[in-house]
């Protein structure tokens, strides 16, 4: 049997991104090609089937995390891609950028403890019918690390209720494990149309047994699967 096609998943690099190579390596091991794309570009590579905004400290987290990065030239292309139904995943700083760009609901604020947290967390997968969780089993929690100073996701109570009803609260920290004080223990959300996702935990740091958990493969592998399907569709 021949090897399945390798979908192209663009990894955007902002000044101050620092997880782009880890994401690239993880995606390539999971069967994608993952070119890194500099933030100054105005277009995504041809045949891009998905985009990942990686973690880091874009623009030194000046003003608010993600507030400057979302004005980068490449973000116009990412916004158009998302508006056309393209798959976009933001991890940590990438999640912050997507909320600042209003591609995802809510906002990420300094951790309630004011301390940087760096540790494994246990996550509940609320839905396995999204492009980001297709390989997950909602009965089985994921073990994936976080490392952030500003991961306290917030939405006002009305919006929170609406997002919960709409199934947009995709990942939640297990009870008693919330590392940052986020509303409703939210660790990751999807947009209303289900093609844009952001999460604070780092699946790219949980893909090799050497580092403990390999549960990150379930998230990134789901994205590779979904990207492969969307790449097969006629444009």
């Amino acid at each position: 049997m021949s090897e399945p096609p390798r979908p192209r998943i663009a990894v955007v690099v902002f000044p101050g991104s620092n997880d782009d190579r880890d994401v690239q390596l993880a995606l390539e091991r999971l069967g994608a090609t993952a070119p890194r794309v500099w933030h100054d570009e105005t277009r995504l590579p041809a045949e891009t089937a998905a985009v990942v905004l990686p973690g880091g400290f874009s623009y030194g987290d000046y003003l608010r995390c993600g507030a400057i990065a979302r004005l980068s030239p490449i973000m116009r292309a990412v916004e158009r891609f998302a508006a056309g139904g393209g798959l976009v995943l933001g991890i940590c700083n990438g999640f912050q950028i997507l909320t600042e760009a209003r591609l995802l609901p809510g906002v990420l604020r300094p951790n309630a403890s004011l301390a940087f947290v760096c540790r494994d967390t246990t996550l509940r997968v609320m839905r396995s019918d999204t492009p980001f969780t297709g390989r997950c089993d909602s009965r089985r929690p994921l073990r994936i690390p976080v490392k952030h100073g500003q991961g306290c996701w917030y939405a006002d109570p009305d919006q929170l209720a609406e997002l919960e009803v709409g199934g947009q609260l995709l990942l939640r920290y297990s009870e008693g494990e919330n590392p940052n004080g986020s509303a409703a223990d939210v660790a990751g959300v999807v947009n209303a149309t289900g093609n844009v996702c952001g999460l604070m935990p780092h699946p790219e740091h949980a893909v090799d047994p050497l580092l403990g958990s390999t549960d990150g493969r379930l998230i990134l592998g789901s994205l590779v699967d979904a990207a492969r399907l969307s790449a097969a569709l006629p444009v």
């Binding site: 507030a67 604020r109 309630a112 004080g181």
Partner: protein, 77 residues
């Protein structure tokens, strides 16, 4: 521009400042920590300055979901 967390929004920095001030013996009921952005603008009048500053706050300097802002104008030299 004065940008600060909206009332009702958890402000951990403000809480830390409040408790530190109490440790120093000051009677503080509440503290909120925001930021000041000083800008110099070359504009015809105060109304124009205010219009521009409001747009800057809405588009970049404040996040309207969690922050409020105030504009203070001073004529330049």
């Amino acid at each position: 521009m004065l940008v600060r967390p909206k009332t009702g929004i958890l402000d951990p920095q403000g809480q830390a400042v409040e408790s530190s001030l109490r440790h120093l013996g000051f009677a503080v009921d509440a503290a909120r920590v925001g930021r000041v952005v000083d800008l110099e603008l070359d504009v015809a009048d105060a109304d124009e300055a205010r219009r521009q500053l409001e747009r800057m706050c809405e588009q970049l300097l404040a996040n309207p979901l969690i922050e409020s802002y105030e504009i203070e104008l001073r004529p330049g030299a």
